[in-house]
Amino acid sequence: MSRFGQDFLGVGLGLRREHFETLWSHIDEQPGSAVARRSAGAIDFVEVLTENALRESLDADGQRAGFVPFGGRTALALDRAARALPTVLHGVSLSVGGLDPLDLPFVEATDALGEALRARWFSDHLCMSAAHGIELHDLLPLPFTDEAVAHVSARIRQLQAHAKLPFLLENPSYYLDAWHPHHREMDEATFLARILEDSDCGLLLDVNNVYVNATNHGYDPRRFIDALPLERVAQIHLAGHLSESFTTASGATETLLIDTHSRPVATPVLDLYAHVLERTGPVSTLLEWDHDIPDLDRMIDELVPIRAIMQRVTGVTGVTRP
């Protein structure tokens, strides 16, 4: 089974420092074994945050000299996990939509990391995360304009021409409202679909982000999903969100969903996940959890409903690793 040329990897978790000591009791560490695990307790693949594995080395003047891997416990855990399970890389700092030059040395370092971990692909978000040489360490939204479509598509083509690993683009959550018409020449689904098509890029579909955006911006998440080129979906993200209230300038209270990755996946998001799988068939699916991270047993419990939906909708009951 494959999606947009990428293998179906099953259901996985993000590899986090909090689980470095406990992960090993939940995975089969015998390389080469045929694994067909569908019970609670199974982790089919892990996603490594690129920026948690690679860091800049600085020269005596405090300038970037290159990239080095995080050593110590991180290096040990990454190596051990990659020996046992399929691995994918996920980034938050590539700034795919930014105007600063694409950081090709970072792409090369990501490739080298991917080779060391035998990663299947790498991904990052449709956003800007740096501007004018300043790293913002957040995913800032892009305007839905023809200019942005052309800019981002060209950047992804450049990225794909340079990188050895396949690249997937993720749809981010965003909170800016009622943009000026100059910033919203098309709807979000059209913006994303045009970039995917123009750059011939795979999609990491974050279903929680779709739900959060649809709620915050008042559109139908199913219609959004149906408007995307779903044949390009090679991975899915699921995560939890929080509801937060704000006071507007007029004194009114506005409630927004915030994509916090700090909670179990909400039921409407799981329903939307089923809607996606009905249209795509089995897709490698990863549960993200980055804040208030629970212990691994609890995380694995959260995979149970995800697996149940995968099995109910697609009939897939196992992944066999070579």
Binding site: R55, G133, L136, E147, A178
Partner: protein, 223 residues
């Protein structure tokens, strides 16, 4: 509005000081100031949360001024690296420049603890005793080592008495052990002898070598 103008406007908004109005930026973008403020908070919070993790003891000592310190740090040293931790690297220098001499020394020690924990070197044995490749030596005029060795972070606060400046600076050694724990201490004469000899390509005397091996400053040869 072009993508370039949009980017510049958004950048100015998310880097605006926490207590300033975003009305003008929001108007230019056609968004509400409240929703634009979400991004300003996110951008700031990502850095401040990592600073608190990198510098727990320094944070505790400077708690009442911490917001001002982090605002000053972000203004003077905008993050330029993908590694979010590196946004905190200039903090010791900034504290020193602000007259927080003891806290600057403490922050330098905490930074070295982090840098050593993630040092890319792999600690493997070779045919002969080798200097631990994660080892760092630096001189300090304030007894930050003694404070950190005798207090846990929870017991530190703005009221914690700051030790007096040392009349003679001390050399601090930080290194990662083979079990991945990070150790720090004032360099003692036996350790200094062992490090000096191995750094010069010579074999230390037995007393110095045995002492440095026991501490983990030197990696024992493979059996």
């Amino acid at each position: 509005m072009t993508l370039a103008t949009y980017t510049a406007t958004l950048l100015a908004a998310v880097r605006a000081a926490p207590d300033t109005s975003l009305d003008a930026h929001a108007k230019a973008l056609g968004a509400s100031p409240q929703r634009l403020g979400i991004y300003r908070s996110f951008v700031r919070d990502h850095v401040t949360s990592v600073l608190a993790k990198l510098y727990p003891a320094t944070h505790a000592l400077l708690a009442p001024q911490w917001d001002v310190v982090t605002t000053d740090l972000l203004a003077a040293h905008p993050p330029r690296f993908r590694d979010l931790n590196l946004a905190g690297e200039p903090l010791p220098r900034l504290l020193d420049a602000r007259g927080h001499a003891f806290e600057a020394a403490l922050a330098q020690l905490e930074w070295e603890l982090f840098a050593t924990a993630v040092h890319p070197a792999v600690l493997t044995s070779s045919d002969a005793p080798t200097l631990n490749p994660t080892l760092t030596l630096f001189e300090q005029h304030h007894p930050a080592v003694q404070l950190l060795a005798t207090h846990d972070d929870a017991s530190l606060s703005a009221d914690t008495p700051r030790p007096a400046r040392l009349e003679v600076p001390q050399v601090v050694v930080v290194f990662r052990k083979q079990d991945h724990t990070v150790s720090f201490r004032v360099l003692d004469p036996l350790s200094a002898r062992a490090i000096e000899a191995l750094a010069a390509g010579a074999m230390p005397d037995d007393d110095a070598l045995g002492h440095a091996l026991a501490l983990g400053l030197v990696i024992a040869p493979a059996p």
